[in-house]
């Protein structure tokens, strides 16, 4: 069983009806990032998963993950083919943060 927290900021909350945080549960003892995006798509729609992948940074436990992205805009199905997503693993208690393009300063 893996329980992780996902945090949303700024325009990401336009997809989550204003929710800033959610808990995701998985049967396995660890979960790859592509499956986390699938879980988020179930909860908030595929467009959200596309927005995260195409436009946002993703941090796990406050560290940005590095993804190999070959094209500017991917559909949800194309996203699920991304090997680098499958290689990032989250475990119980991990925190994933969706970082939309910033508007600081």
């Amino acid at each position: 069983m893996t329980k992780i927290t996902a945090l949303f900021f700024g325009p990401a909350k336009d997809f989550t009806q204003g929710e800033e945080e959610t808990t995701l549960e998985f049967q396995e003892t660890s979960v790859s990032l592509d499956n986390v995006l699938v879980a988020l798509s179930h909860k908030y729609g595929e467009k959200f998963a596309e927005y995260i992948y195409n436009s946002c940074g993703i941090a796990v436990n406050l560290e940005y993950v590095s993804l190999q992205i070959d094209q500017e805009k991917s559909t949800f199905l194309e996203i699920l083919q991304n090997e680098s997503l499958k290689q990032i693993t989250l475990v119980e208690g991990d925190e994933l943060t969706v970082i939309p393009p910033v508007s600081s300063g």
């Binding site: 900021f9 336009d14 970082i99 393009p101 910033v102 508007s103 600081s104």
Partner: protein, 195 residues
Amino acid sequence: MLICPDLPSKSTKAGQVPHTHCFICKLGPTMEDTWFAKENGPSLKVFLTTSPLDAQKCIDFVKDPGAGAVVYFGGTTRDSFGDREVVSLSYEAHRPMALRSLVKISNEAITKFKDFRGQDSVQKVCICHRLGTVPVLEESIVIALSSTHRKEGWEAAMYILERIKESVEIWKSEEYADGGATWKENGKEHEKVQI
């Protein structure tokens, strides 16, 4: 409890101690409405706050006997965007990541801008960013720094601002007189995200 006098005036001033010895600043996190970077010290002051920013305090912090220049930037809420009247901006942040990024950028500037002898020119840096609602005319960000010579000071201040706008984990919502609001994105016109 001994805390430094830089914290909001509502705090108990049980004693006057520098940031580095302040019980609250050492903890790093929340004290009422202000959050300090744990890396703060005599030459670096980085914080987020929902209180109005005090530009003079930032300038006073960075002044240094070895510095010939003090450079200040204040970003204020403008009353319009295109043809829409703006009444306020609202900011939210991932506070730990934003503080960490601001410290990183400050250190980048200190390392990058050297004088003609190759020595660090930037002496002290202060960056504060406001969170919550910022009405027109009020600052959402203050950057102040001191440098040995003016050239590196100007360049470092511009560098810091541009790097902040690229990467610091803070988001701004623009609120209009007609009741609408949009999330902004640095570097591009940002329409409400299509869902």
